[in-house]
Amino acid sequence: MTKTYFTEDHEWIRVEGDIATVGITDYAQEQLGDLVFVDLPEAGRKLAKGDVAVVVESVKAASDVYAPIDGDITEANATLSSDPALVNSAASGDGWLWKMKIANAGQLDGLMDEAGYKAHIG
């Protein structure tokens, strides 16, 4: 069973067992504009909630993407190194950024569900 959570920083977190897949929302990619580079993390990196996990770069600016929860990175989306625009065209699907092993599942309780996120962005 999968469940998807959202943060106020416009990330989504899809949870399957003890693995979370993290990406940015469609709303976020639209705000950023055309992405030209994604600075991907290495597998094994230990993240604490709030750490900068990924930097996404548009034509004009670089933006940080934060770890929404604690955990170790198990995989980064390598496809994005050759096709960063996948984040624009498929933000909530193939344009995912990284997967992580959840260290503290209790942190998920503080996040929004889809309805809550939709209300958040208005």
Partner: protein, 366 residues
């Protein structure tokens, strides 16, 4: 230059209707992108026609028997040698040859010149010019105009269809097609194109025609920046500031040779001293290796880890297909192909000094 947005463009309603995303630039609330997005907007301008609302920029009319002498004092330019309709890229300099602003000045008549200044410097420029004008028989009139740039290989065709003849104008020429209009063949993209200053009502009428042409579309400030960066053109406030002189900035081509020795312009002595010693640093193009952009503010190092310069503009070049940047490096390293390293978030990204422009200029010269 960014800051709190205070000024609204007269045509803000048109941009909002076109779906623009707005942001602050130089005290103005400006359209940054439209729904097409910066990449498509950039490429559309290089292939067809981009329409840019540049009404944040300021037009000053300088007139009177002393107008040419005032300009000769304020700028490293021989205003008397300009032919009517001729436009020149020039600067206001400080006594130490620092660049207060970069400008385009067009001779409209014997005693009549148009000065086009950057938005962020408009107030400084006006005060500077007015202070100097006390010694000359010249009048300075800031104009209240909508200012539109029409840029791209099909610009002349699209304007022609809208009833605006362009045949009489070549690159870096300008004139007054009507009493309250100013039009020049110039721009900030590296493409053929025009800039037209005109009253708001006339602008709305003209834009209705231009926007009805499928070859033309609105282009935001984000693509304006990537277009000018690929074209190797300076953004004042980033690539040139009062801390940079024209020699270091690689802009000596804009200063007539005979003026360097005996011109009456402010900053001449300081500039002559810089030229005699040789500029310590030079503005260059920078091409990062790989896909990662290197941005304004990044420090540059040589292979031994010594700080040798800085990036002043950087981003991705949609037409180039790779990241593009500009910056200053020690004069000894300012040769195309020299490998330096930019610090990006603690990682040293290899960057090669690259000739400018990154994309060839396609101006329509006479």
């Amino acid at each position: 230059m960014t800051g709190e947005a205070t000024n609204q463009l007269p045509l803000a309603d048109l941009h909002a209707a076109a779906g623009a995303r707005f942001g602050a630039f130089a005290g103005w609330n400006m359209p940054l992108t439209y729904p097409a997005g910066v990449m498509k907007e950039h490429l559309h301008t290089r292939e067809h026609v981009g329409l840019f609302d540049i009404s944040h920029m300021k037009l000053f009319l300088v007139t009177g028997p002393g107008a040419a002498d005032l300009i000769n004092r304020a700028c490293p330019l021989d205003a008397r040698a300009l032919e009517t309709r001729q436009s020149k890229y020039t600067f206001f300099l400080t006594e130490t040859a620092g660049i207060i602003d970069d400008l385009i000045i067009t001779r409209l008549g014997d005693e009549r010149f148009m000065v086009v200044a950057n938005a962020g410097n408009a107030a400084t420029d006006e005060a500077h010019l007015r202070a100097l004008a006390k010694d000359f028989d010249a009048t300075i009139e800031p104009l209240d105009r909508v200012f539109i740039a029409i840029q791209g290989p099909e610009a002349a065709t699209v304007l022609g269809k809208a009833g605006i003849a362009t045949d009489a104008l070549f690159f870096m020429q300008g004139f007054e097609p009507r009493a309250t209009w100013f039009m020049s063949r110039s721009g900030y993209t590296g493409e053929d194109g025009f800039e037209i200053g005109l009253p708001e009502a006339d602008a709305r009428e003209l834009l209705a025609k231009l926007l009805a042409d499928e070859r033309a579309m609105w282009i935001g400030l984000a693509a304006r920046d990537s277009l000018r960066l690929e074209a190797g053109l300076c953004l004042h406030g980033n690539d040139i500031t009062p801390d940079n002189d024209p020699a270091s900035a690689g802009l000596m081509w804009a200063i007539p040779k005979d003026l360097r020795a005996d011109g009456g312009f402010i900053g001449r002595a300081a500039l002559a001293a810089i030229l005699a010693d040789g500029a310590k640093e030079k503005r260059v193009g920078l091409k990062p290796e790989g896909r990662q952009p290197v941005r304004s503010g990044a420090e540059l190092f040589d292979a031994d880890g010594k700080l040798i310069g800085r990036v002043t503009s950087g981003g991705f070049g949609p037409s180039a297909g790779f990241p593009v940047a500009m910056g200053y490096v020690s004069a000894s390293l300012a040769k195309a192909g020299t490998r330096v390293f930019a610090d990006v978030r603690g990682t040293k990204v290899p960057v090669d000094v690259h000739s400018l422009p990154f994309t060839q200029h396609r101006y329509r010269k006479g």
